[in-house]
């Protein structure tokens, strides 16, 4: 019964989404405030109904209701509780439901936090959000129903893919979706602005917090996913330029560009048309990513062509929304007023270059991801576009961008002084060059790692020295002044420094040590500055798997500093094996071990790694997200909260 209720709630949510689309839209056209205000309650109600449906599916997974196809194919009665909950989104139907849940949550958030928005803009934005919701709810109900039952329920389910049974999976997708789908808010705002024909700095003030929110969530989501890959894979790879990864990177890059151009629009009323375009682009790339991941087109172009229902449906949604928004843009963009003026050497100018480089990066990722699909569809020729391609073409764009970041921070709005900005970055340049020189003398190769590390150090110092310089008044450095700086200034510097830390972590991968060998128990083997020995190899049972683990001692200078337990797991339900890496963080680096085949003489194959500074890759991402959060907390941006009280007065008088 609960399951049917969930299914029914989903149908009702569709009806509500259609109402949310149609009524406020008509209201906005005929200037009927009552109709426009239907938007808020329906958006919240739509979210509640989707949440009810989602809750019902979660319930079915938790109680192992094997009369549901979705539960049979992805669950097992012995599966740990946490994975019964995360397993809901570990499959196509469930993850689409999560997608729509986040989409409707975004609608509800607009409804709740838009007290100060003009009625018309809010009505149009929620109307677009409603239409998006309707399209995807229809997709779920028609092609991907998670509530489908079977006549003869089996006694046991087929379990979730072992690779997905991991704490990383529990956090990664919801975070990723919050970012990915969070850009729908900015998309709806842009569409609403184009429909209404009014685009000004106020619009940017409404849109920027949501951009920051989506961007922050996406940053965390991508970082989480990459760390999960790192410890799950068994050899410490963390980014593969896989189309599925690129699907999340594309909106992130566009979102980063948007974040910066929206700042220009808010402060200086410039780059308006471009900001609107990026707002459309960021979510369009999210839709493209959803299509790539969900249509099956990645597995094979032919598989897609032979069984196309879902793929064609999403493609339809994609063409409708992206095409519609771009058409609207093309019609309206010409009539938008040109914004504020600025000299090429200025904060705005630097941000334009930032946007140029980010757009080129984004275009490259999109083209690199789609090219093999297009080529095969058009000519039948099969090529692979892998990491060597992306690294070769993107590093020359990314490094100059990193060099530019602190310079942009140092330039004044409207008209800047490049010489003075560079002068203020003297210390950062010096420290960067020094770092590169020291590393070069110490490690020698690879050259790229040394250059990147130098730039990374410069970026961290440069980003933070902006704060230090701002805190320096006439009477010298003042701590109080530093703390009194606006949170958004702190946010910018911390996020930029975070990028520097990530870059440093990436550079340090060049100095990693790898050792592939057969280990005899009791003997010590060198891995970078450490020595590893197997103390014991034995079997053990988990809730739904059995494993063989090797207990290893990590020694430094004759002393045991840590113990790790890499293991090989066997999941009975799916008859699948999974390697469980043994990892210990020492300083900012990690010792990483994975085991393989065992031999008759008692030795066991192993891969041992010393990965210096590797944690910085994700620590940097945390800093970026923290910076985003700080900016979001800035008073100026919280206009919905800050101005609600006075805005409520005229309403009460009505």
């Amino acid at each position: 019964m609960i399951v049917e209720t969930g299914h029914y709630a989903l149908v009702l949510a569709l009806a509500l989404a259609l109402a949310q689309f149609a009524i406020p839209f008509v209201g906005a056209r005929i200037n009927d405030v009552a109709l426009m205000r239907v938007a808020r309650p329906t958006a919240i109600a739509q979210f509640l109904f989707v949440a009810a449906a989602y809750g019902a599916l979660t319930y079915a997974h938790v109680v192992s209701d094997f009369s549901l196809v979705n539960v049979i194919e992805n669950s097992h009665s012995l599966k740990p509780f946490v994975y019964k909950i995360s397993g809901v989104w570990g499959n196509h139907e469930g993850s689409m439901l999560l997608w729509v849940l986040v989409l409707s949550l975004c609608g509800a958030l607009i409804a709740i936090f838009s007290a100060t928005m003009p009625d018309k803009l809010r009505a149009d934005a929620l109307s677009v959000q409603g239409l998006l919701g309707a399209a995807f709810l229809l997709f779920i109900l028609l092609t991907s129903n998670p509530f489908a039952r079977v006549d003869q329920p089996p006694w046991e389910g087929r379990d979730l893919n072992p690779i997905l049974q991991d704490p990383g999976l529990a956090i990664h997708p919801p975070m990723l979706y919050l970012g990915y789908v969070g850009f729908s808010i900015v998309f709806s705002f842009a569409a609403a602005a184009l429909i209404g024909g009014r685009i000004d700095a106020a619009w940017a003030r409404y849109a920027r917090p949501w951009t920051l929110f989506a961007w922050t969530a996406l940053t965390l989501g991508i970082a989480m996913g990459s760390y999960w890959a790192y410890y799950t894979l068994g050899w410490g790879g963390f980014w593969f330029w896989d189309p599925v990864e690129n699907a999340s990177l594309m909106p992130w890059i566009a979102g980063t560009a948007l974040l910066h151009s929206a700042a220009v629009m808010e402060k200086r009323e410039a780059l308006k048309v471009w900001t609107i375009f990026l707002s459309i682009l960021a979510f369009s790339l999210s839709l493209l990513g959803t299509f790539l991941v969900r249509s099956g087109v990645l597995t094979s172009v032919h598989a897609f062509a032979s069984d196309p229902d879902r793929g064609v449906f999403i493609l339809g949604i994609l063409v409708f929304f992206i095409g519609g928004a771009l058409a609207l843009f093309a019609i309206r963009a010409g009539s938008l007023p040109v914004g504020g003026l600025f000299s090429p050497i200025s904060r705005e100018g630097a941000l334009v270059v930032n946007n140029l480089l980010l757009s080129a990066t984004c275009a490259t990722v999109v083209i690199g991801t789609l090219y093999p699909l297009a080529l095969e569809a058009l000519t039948g020729e099969k090529i692979s576009v892998g990491p060597p391609f992306f690294n070769t073409v993107l590093i020359p764009i990314a490094l100059p961008l990193a060099l530019l970041m602190p310079i942009g921070q140092m330039l004044a709005w409207k008209r800047g002084d490049l010489g003075a900005a560079l002068q203020r970055l003297r210390a950062a340049f010096a420290v960067g060059v020094l770092a590169a020189a020291v590393l070069g003398a110490w490690q020698g190769t690879p050259f790229l790692s040394i250059v990147t590390a130098g730039i990374a150090v410069y970026l961290v110092v440069g980003a933070l020295s902006d704060l230090a310089l701002r805190a320096k008044g006439a009477a010298g450095f003042s701590f109080r002044r530093l703390l009194g700086l606006p949170l958004s200034a702190w946010g910018t510097s911390i996020a930029h420094a975070g990028m520097g830390l990530t870059l440093l972590g990436l550079a340090a991968t060049g100095w990693g040590v790898e050792s592939i060998l057969s280990m005899k128990p009791g003997e010590y083997y060198d891995v970078g500055p450490y020595k590893l020995a197997i103390e014991e190899i034995s079997p053990r049972n988990g809730p739904n798997y059995s494993e063989v683990y090797a207990s290893m001692a990590v020694r430094s200078g004759g002393e045991t500093v840590a113990r790790i337990e890499p293991a090989k797991r066997f999941y009975q339900a799916r008859k699948m094996q999974r390697s469980e890496a043994g990892i210990v963080t020492l300083g900012l680096g990690q010792v990483y071990a994975a085991i393989g085949e065992s031999h008759a003489d008692g030795s066991i194959d192993a891969r041992l790694y010393w990965k210096p500074l590797v944690t910085l890759i994700w620590i940097g991402a945390l800093f970026m997200a923290f910076g985003g959060g700080l900016s979001l907390a800035d008073r100026r941006l919280r206009i919905g909260v800050a101005r609600r009280a006075p805005a409520a007065l005229p309403e009460a008088a009505e």
């Binding site: 979706y177 990459s226 799950t232 593969f240 099969k382 090529i383």
Partner: protein, 153 residues
């Protein structure tokens, strides 16, 4: 309904062990060359993995093949050409430069150029009214008619 192997996440094939100690060459320099070559070859039966990372049997065959060829004394380029001629473009993770891939390789440069052109034309449109030129004789005349004697440029 096994079309959707992937979740919304990074799909990770089981790569417990790719290169095993038994496959490795005794000469570390030659082994390093082999690793560099195989890390740029695609495992043809995998979702998206290099031969170096995959534990599929075909990937293992290719790793052994590359090492055999290196032992025979072939150069890195010769080994890559050999594998390329046997398995086609699909095996190369770095797509070869040819007619069909020119647009791909040129994409970043084209994107930069197109973007730069866009920025330039937008800036020109914008800067033009921002820096007014010297007054024309006609304008001076008009100003004089309005009673402004000395029009400063």
């Amino acid at each position: 309904m096994k079309r959707f192997l992937a979740t919304a996440l990074v799909l990770l094939p089981l790569a417990a062990h790719a290169v095993t100690p038994g496959e490795m060459l005794p000469d570390p320099a030659m082994e390093a060359r082999a690793r560099a070559i195989t890390s740029e070859l695609r495992c043809l039966v995998c979702q998206n993995q290099s031969v170096d990372d995959s534990d599929a049997s075909l990937a293992k065959d290719l790793r052994v093949l590359v090492r055999d060829k290196l032992k025979e004394g072939l150069s890195d380029a010769q080994v890559k050409d050999y594998v390329h001629s046997r398995y086609g473009d699909f095996v190369l993770l770095r797509p070869p430069l040819k007619m069909g891939t020119i647009l791909l390789w040129a994409a970043p440069l084209l994107a930069l150029l197109a973007g730069g052109l866009g920025v330039w034309s937008a800036a020109r449109r914008r800067i033009a009214p921002a820096s007014p030129g010297a007054l024309t004789a006609e304008e001076r005349e008009k100003l004089r008619a309005l009673g402004v004697e000395e029009a400063r440029d």
